[in-house]
Symmetry: none
Subunit: 174 residues, 4 copies
């Protein structure tokens, strides 16, 4: 069985970008972590930039899938709580997606911008499903607060799920 080389590289990249950030992670380190020679990197990816973009897309796909599942079942439990916890479990995803993507280069920022919009639309969609007034404002408040807690979790290594639940209850979203 085992992962393909390509998958091993992406896995390694995810780990290292999360740990050290985009600019301070080298191709050398990624290939070493993946257990292949560093020339191999360029068999699968055109450049470091392209590699990071592929990674970002993969991660975004995971998050969106999770949100969509909650929408389908009309379940706030699944939409708000499970999605949140899923992301929270992967500190690497947070670090890469919510921090790193915004520094680095123009194209990553564009990608972040576009993704952020998608997330907010999903939240709006769900709030509408719940018949929530002011869904536009609340989608942004929710996004802002979730990101605040993600930051908190990463920066202080604290447990934040309870705060998230309190927040949701406060606005009758759970």
């Amino acid at each position: 069985m085992g992962q393909s080389t390509r998958e091993k590289l992406l896995e390694a990249g995810k780990k290292l970008f999360a740990e050290k950030g985009y600019h301070r992670t080298t191709i050398e380190e990624i290939t070493k972590e993946a257990g292949v020679s560093h020339g191999t990197f360029y068999v699968y990816f055109k450049s470091k930039k392209e590699f990071f973009l592929v990674l970002l897309k993969e991660i975004r796909g995971l998050i969106l899938n999770s949100l969509n599942a909650g929408i389908k079942e009309k379940s706030p439990q699944r939409f708000f709580l499970e999605s949140f916890e899923k992301v929270l479990k992967e500190k690497e995803v947070i670090r890469i997606f919510f921090f790193e993507a915004m520094c680095s280069d123009k194209e990553f920022i564009d990608f972040y911008c576009e993704s952020r919009q998608l997330f907010i639309e999903k939240i709006e969609e769900f709030l509408k499903l719940l018949g929530k007034q002011d869904y536009r404002l609340y989608a942004r408040i929710i996004h802002g607060y979730a990101k605040y807690l993600f930051e908190e979790a990463i920066l202080t290594n604290r447990e934040v799920t309870e705060e998230w639940e309190n927040f949701l209850k406060h606005f009758s979203l759970l």
Copy 2:
């Protein structure tokens, strides 16, 4: 007379870090922008890292001063609105402080973490002044939403003051 060389360098750094980010801005570019030779940079700053930290501290000082003024006068107008607009006017501050500081190196992240805490405490302090219950939760919601709007302003170049006012009114903070 004009600025001192040190000030010119900081000004140039602020502009360039905001435009291109910490890692992609070179000392050469900063000194060129400031109109001095690149050796001069090291007359005033020990390293690129130290330079960035000095810049971050200056910027944080400005923001905190602004918040403190609002607290002294017990004026939500000054605390929430004017401070917000002041930061908003300096897109560079936002880009540097809320984006760049979190990537790059450990010490910058630590600085960001510490600063974020200070901001939230200021907001809590003010909410208590207003006699607001749930000041803890709301301080974080406000921080999260403000940051969301800062991001929005930078990423889309949109005017966001109105949305900020609506948000404040919605929670009777203006």
Copy 3:
């Protein structure tokens, strides 16, 4: 076939360090002399310092091997004369080992100190083999005189073998 790149670099370093000294020889010059690009240097060596240390160790190895051969055969001819001439033939070795190593940085000095001790011990060992009284004092006198002649050879470009032989005969060591 020819030498490996690593060997070419060491060879070039030996030549240049001997000619111009450690501090005034640049990586650029070493790689140019070796006929490779300067980036290649760092494929094989971590830093200029490490490179110099590797070189010093190689050179010391050659000298020690030579001394050991003389000890094995109990031959003053081989121990004193051949070893001396071998070192003398490589002016670069002298210049690097007996001069340069002692300037530059702390770690090189430590290395020189340690090596000097090893040489003296070898001489003591051999003098004991010859049944020489006062082997401790004489080992140091021999070392001191040999170094004097090495210096002489380098500084004045004079032939010094005859003086070395006279010295040895004077103390009945040949």
Copy 4:
């Protein structure tokens, strides 16, 4: 009273060159140690090189004076022992004169070479005074052994005067 600025600079240079070597000591450090601004250095000296050469000449003068005093009085006590101890007391002199001078640049090496010759001639002169046969060979042995002990003193921080006395007695020079 107080030293002149020029003397303070030379004093500072002596200390720092001995501690850190020629290449790793900066003009900045020398002037700081001397308590003057670094521009002042160039009021008194044309360049770092010239400065070092002046220092070397001063030091050599001291050593030669000491040897000459011993010659005048035909006193082996003063010539061998006191001169040796005088130099030994100033570790800085040793470090600079016997180590540093030989690395660095061509002109320093030339100076060292010339000085070494002068010392040996003084020793020869004194040995002749004592009616010593083989004064040529012994002058060099003495020089070599003294330098060995100077090195020892610097490298290991050991007390070496006793060894020097034993050496002298062994050859009936005390």
